[in-house]
Symmetry: C2
Subunit: 160 residues, 2 copies
DNA sequence: ACCTTCGCGCAATATTTTTGCATGCCTAGT
DNA sequence: ACTAGGCATGCAAAAATATTGCGCGAAGGT
């Protein structure tokens, strides 16, 4: 489902590198930078959207501005490798707004979860609800974030 | 610098919850959903931008579409807590496009780094360059991601 | 050599954003 | 109670931007 690998040329990469930092720039401005007319730029962007290369365009909200002052990285090990348990846990993660990111990883832990909360108390409540109550988690370790050095979804692009 | 805490009302939260999922919806559409005229919506969004509540608007690129097939979470411990070392390491992380995210954390590790690479070989090259060559890292542990269960920058919003 | 395909620029059109202005609603001060 | 100021709103005009139709030329295949 991601995308069956398509052929993107240098111009596509250039455009992606621009819009992944600022999605609000008008087409003629992007066109000036890459040497294309506005409509050509638009057709390329639409194609990238349609093919799923551009997954979405979103506004990035500063967490601290909306009371999410505590970010934490949580390492999680499930009770066992039962497919049911995994499915249930993943569903829980996807459904929970406080879970910003969740990856299945290899190694001694099963998941890495990035959790946003207003404070320690709420973090504890969330942990209880997400990791303890369901009973599918054997062990979890919370690593509170001290500082966000870098946070983004930007992707390294070939030739740039 | 994030933002000195401002007063956002329910409408602001509503708008944020909409645009943090889709930043391309026209003002009149947002207005219909929250019960405001297009210009009122726009003024609110601009205020949120100016105050830094909306940090940016970006296109989210699907990593696998551009050859970034291997994501890994890397736990890093520095040689020591020297401020110099920390500053250097953080600068390195910020400058490196393959580093998607980087947090300072509390506990036995100093940093969590989310690293994007095309494959294992490139991951090794990156690790060598970022964690070994500089000589500021005592120990690091790479946890390759098996599957991305959830990836986003969306923030939990009060009252929604 | 001819045809087909594809992406381009241009120009017309449609949509969206931006701005100026008048109004109504709070709050605070008299 | 009344008034003045600040503030956010809706509306409408204007500006900017996005979208679409069309013809052209290059690349590749027959």
């Amino acid at each position: 489902m991601p995308s069956p690998s398509y052929v993107l040329d240098q111009l596509d990469y250039l455009l992606l590198s621009l819009v992944q930092h600022d999605a609000r720039r008008p087409l003629h401005e992007l066109g000036d930078e890459v040497g294309l007319s506005p409509s050509a730029v638009q057709r390329r962007l639409n194609r990238l959207r349609q093919r799923g290369v551009i997954r979405s365009e979103v506004a990035v909200v500063e967490p601290r501005s909306v009371g999410a002052d505590l970010m934490a990285v949580v390492l999680v090990a499930l009770i066992d490798d039962d497919a049911e348990h995994h499915a249930a846990f993943r569903e829980l993660m996807r459904a929970e707004p406080a879970v910003q990111q969740c990856y299945t990883i290899m190694g001694q832990w099963d998941y890495v979860v990035v959790l946003l909360a207003s404070d320690i108390a709420e973090n504890r409540r969330l942990s209880a609800r997400l990791f303890v109550a369901p009973g599918t988690v054997r062990r979890y370790e919370t690593l509170p974030a001290f500082e966000v050095v870098k946070a983004g979804l930007t992707v390294p692009l070939p030739g740039s």
